[in-house]
Symmetry: C2
Subunit: 407 residues, 2 copies
DNA sequence: AGTATATGTTCGGTGTTTAGACAAAATCAC
DNA sequence: GTGATTTTGTCTAAACACCGAACATATACT
């Protein structure tokens, strides 16, 4: 039951019905391709005539195209299959991380068109912008046959202003209120869209074309790396909030008297479950203390710790188990606050999921308000799926499929 | 940018445009009454002819009525004023609380039609149902001239199942999985809708007809009494979640090693800022410990504590200030998680707002991720506005004004 | 009394869904 | 091979909605 805001609404015009049905048809093609006009009409519960008109409009706009004829199931005329037209357009996704920056080219369906490339991140934003521009131009030249680039989506590990042009704060990069979108767009000559990386991950799950992923209801993506970022999707829409900072469960406390967090506060969930937190637990040292931060720069990474834990090292396993417990306790806050249909978890720690899952689940159950909450679906998203990159791509590819604003 | 769920969508039919515009017109009458057809057309940015047709449809259905002619501003024909037709319908709101149960009768606009009545709550649900039925019938007989009752909305201090028929858990009443809606509806012969009281409060703010209340964006209602309940509104819609338990920020921890909470966990925000928490802090005793809970039953209430604090009693002021600080720290979690446009606070503690506001604000700023977050609007909702009762009423009165489901 | 102006209604025009008929294409039965 | 059956896709008329403009009505100003 949604309230119509009497100060900001959209009246239905003569073409509104068509606009709505056109987008539904487009989304059905996207979700079910290859699909015929007749099946489309069946799915939409409209006459075939209407589906035909919608399809011809989408064809005229070049959003879909007619492929080969399909096989007739029983007898009868063979259907003409329809596909999203991704032939002459591509999208570039960029994932800027503290250590390295990744680039991926996909089609409009988000299908990978080549290998992921990467280079070391230069934390000087101007230098990085220039190098990114150079490398993206290079990549686009390499894939010239895939056609023009519709846009570049960039996931950054920090907060992005609501207008989407500036990075307000990215602690791991040392950025504070830097301009990124416009310089990059100017350097390449293609529209750029930037977004917080956890929000991008949430978008990746929402806009995936994988058929085994259900997108109904609310969902939360928890991205665990050096920090902890979360993106919340409510009713098919990313929750942004007043200042585009909604969904920061990483800085909801487990204990306000806990360790100091990178955000300046104490006892944030992040300060218990980030990779740095796990490593510092392993080393028995407080990484938040001033002084030489040799762990961050050391060659011993979270992957090494997980490998040792798998090999049976008690110290590693202990650190990991503690993280698992805190992870579950923090997830309980998310469940109590959002009551999502499912939670996605990404980050290096997911490689240890088989080790820690029971502990996470028990801790979750311990603090959820209802027993139902304790059974909330948890899905692990492996790094190979590149959720940040696919989310960055969705920033560009998804708007064409979005629902029209109505009422 | 909302995604269309390809497994659950609504195609626009021939009458969909009309349905949308009809609801917009109805909401504009609700928000701006009295209003003329011409002004309606102006607000909707449609031709007067369309507005006229929409109005005549609403008139036929009896949702609005034509009142007296308004005064002409300059020269020209005088406008016929339109109003929401509440003349022959009323709504009953019920607020069940641990100590007393309150009843209020309103019209469809939520305007109070008589005084709030109340009686002592009998915690036996069957006895309470019978007494409620008897009293509501009595009240409706007293207000017979206001016409038929459209429904009864009930706010309960506990969790309600998604289907809305049962109270799953109401700790202060000692209820666990009790049936309330159907027995009450059967006893009175009028439809009943029940909802968690904090969610009801959130609905009350969302559906208020007061013109000084802005409802755009996200908002959170925090209700502080014996427990702490919260209701979250995202994009004009109450966030319910998978099991109708979303928005329980009261059980997000401040410190997982903190005092035991009524929910069984430890260190929940509720265990720091509820009235019981404040009182126990005043008495220097842990109310969660087993044994004679003389504070709950004692005659010294939170109101008395606030009165003493106002009179300058250091001990009371100390307990109150601690609560204020924890209140702000917990609000920071809400701001970080939801980034709402505004937060509403209700409960007895609001009578001490002038005392505690600076402390709350400072604590909030201390833990919010951005400086913007620290400036989030906080509005106090005094008890005299009866947010629970008005929310209970909205359960019945609001659905007629809700936006149609589309796309 | 005449003119200007605002409100509310009416009517033809255009765009969209709805319902159903029809042509095209493929399979099955004989 | 031929005709019946079935499925796909197109087309047309009807119903319904917004769009635009003209028209009648009512009030105030000159």
């Amino acid at each position: 039951m949604r309230k119509i805001n009497p100060h900001d609404f959209k009246v239905a015009r003569r073409g509104t019905s068509r606009e709505i049905n056109r987008q539904i048809a487009l989304n059905l093609v996207r979700a079910h391709q290859p699909i015929s006009r007749a099946d489309l009409a069946l799915l939409m519960n409209v006459r075939r005539g209407v589906a035909s008109l919608l399809v011809s409009e989408l064809l005229d706009e070049g959003l879909i195209f007619e492929g080969a004829l399909g096989e007739a199931v029983g007898r009868g005329r063979r259907p003409t299959f329809l596909y999203i037209d991704s032939r002459q357009r591509c999208v570039v996704g960029v994932d800027i991380r503290a250590s390295r920056t990744y680039i991926l080219v996909t089609d409009l369906m988000g299908r990978q068109l080549g290998a992921v490339s990467s280079f070391q991140t230069n934390k000087d934003v101007e230098v990085l912008t220039q190098e990114l521009a150079r490398r993206i131009k290079q990549v686009l030249a390499d894939y010239k046959d895939v056609g023009a680039c519709a846009g570049i989506g960039v996931a950054v590990p920090g907060m992005v202003d609501p207008a989407g042009g500036r990075v307000l704060h990215a602690p791991t990069l040392g950025w504070r209120d830097v301009s990124l979108r416009d310089p990059l767009a100017a350097a390449i000559g293609i529209p750029v869209h930037i977004e917080n990386s956890a929000k991008a991950c949430a978008l990746a799950q929402l806009w995936t074309t994988r058929r085994d992923v259900i997108t109904a209801g609310h969902s939360v993506f928890v991205s665990i790396s050096d920090g902890v970022g979360t993106g919340v999707v409510v009713n098919g829409e990313l929750m942004r909030g007043r200042h585009n900072t909604a969904g920061e469960f990483g800085h909801v406390p487990l204990s306000i008297d806990g360790p100091r967090c990178s955000c300046g506060a104490t006892g944030c969930w992040e300060s218990y479950v980030s990779n740095i937190a796990t490593l510092s637990r392993y080393f028995g040292r407080d990484l938040s203390e001033p002084g030489p931060r040799d762990i961050e720069t050391s060659t011993f990474t979270i992957e090494d710790l997980i490998a040792r834990a798998r090999a049976g090292d008690a110290k590693s396993l202990g650190a990991l188990n503690s993280t698992a417990r805190y992870l579950g306790l923090g997830l309980a806050s998310i469940v109590n606050a959002i009551d999502p249909a499912r939670i996605y978890i990404g980050g290096e720690i997911t490689t240890a999921w088989s080790l820690i899952e029971p502990i996470v689940r028990n801790a979750l159950r311990e603090r959820t308000l209802t027993e139902f909450g304790g059974t909330t679906e948890i899905h692990v998203v492996p790094a190979e799926e590149h959720p940040r990159l696919r989310g960055a791509v969705a920033l560009i590819a998804a708007p064409a499929f979005a629902a029209p604003m109505v009422a």
